[in-house]
């Protein structure tokens, strides 16, 4: 199985689909907020993730439609974690080529083999061209999990 770590971390309680966000900051707060809700990060990690975009620009917009919200491990990460927020209406982050964004992953990482494995799984999953659009269309967490399984069995 290719996506073990991703499957283990991305559970239905950290998946929220077709949410409404007013702007990029709201989208970042909601996505990282999913990690806070399950105790995987401290509340201050939400602010730190917003601050990263304010300080460094929209570099965390990784591809058309896709952002990976995150901050430094020492900003309040309790364990390796990932959440998924998709948006009913896309929002602009200020990226010259990849706006607007409608799929936001929130990452909390602690330097470890586990974290490297998680990123490897995520990279493999997102490398398939149809993944981002399919995530945007998904209506239920089950559909998202099915996409993960497809990605790992290729």
């Amino acid at each position: 199985m290719g996506a073990d770590m991703l499957r283990q971390v991305l559970t239905p309680d950290v998946i929220r689909l077709k949410a409404r966000a007013t702007d990029w900051e709201d989208a970042v707060r909601q996505s990282v907020g999913l990690l806070q809700n399950v105790g995987a990060v401290e509340p201050r990690y939400v602010d730190a993730s917003v601050q990263m975009v304010k300080d460094l620009g929209a570099y965390m917009v990784l591809a058309p439609g896709l952002a990976l919200a995150h901050a430094r491990p020492e900003a309040g990460v309790r364990r390796n974690c990932l959440a998924l927020l998709t948006l009913e209406t896309p929002v602009a982050f200020g990226h010259p080529e990849n706006d607007p964004v409608y799929v936001v992953f929130a990452l909390g990482a602690i330097k470890s083999d586990e974290h490297v494995k998680l990123i490897a799984d995520l990279a493999q999953f997102l490398e398939r061209e149809e993944t981002i659009a399919a995530l945007g269309r998904a209506e239920t967490a089950e559909e998202v999990l099915a996409l993960l399984d497809q990605g790992s069995s290729r």
Partner: protein
């Protein structure tokens, strides 16, 4: 043709644990496909260029925040998940470096 030395690659993002790690994995895969021996690492803008780096890969947002990076070639990715995009932008820089190494520069 055996390589005279390994090509050193650094991938820079804000934290060095998310997007840069993802791109590093893809770069490693591309180099392997091309049969080129590289060593790659991730870093933050503050560590860019430290340690005789041949190629620095980063995002358009950080390219102008890198400071003095010596002779390193800078490659900018706007897509960190597409292997095709990364290969298109990385391969020409890699070939240039290989040529320079071959010529003993």
């Amino acid at each position: 043709v055996p390589q005279k030395r390994r090509v050193k690659v650094q991938v820079i993002c804000g934290v060095g644990m998310g997007s840069s790690l993802m791109a590093k994995m893809t770069i490693d895969a591309v180099a392997k496909e091309l049969g080129v021996d590289i060593s790659s690492e991730v870093g933050q803008p503050s560590t860019a260029g430290l340690g005789k780096i041949d190629i620095i890969a980063t995002t358009p947002f950080l390219a102008d925040k890198l400071g003095n990076v010596g002779d390193a070639k800078i490659v900018v990715f706007t897509n960190f998940v597409s292997k095709k995009h990364i290969r298109e932008r990385f391969e020409p820089a890699l070939r240039e470096v290989l040529e320079e190494i071959e010529q003993g520069m």
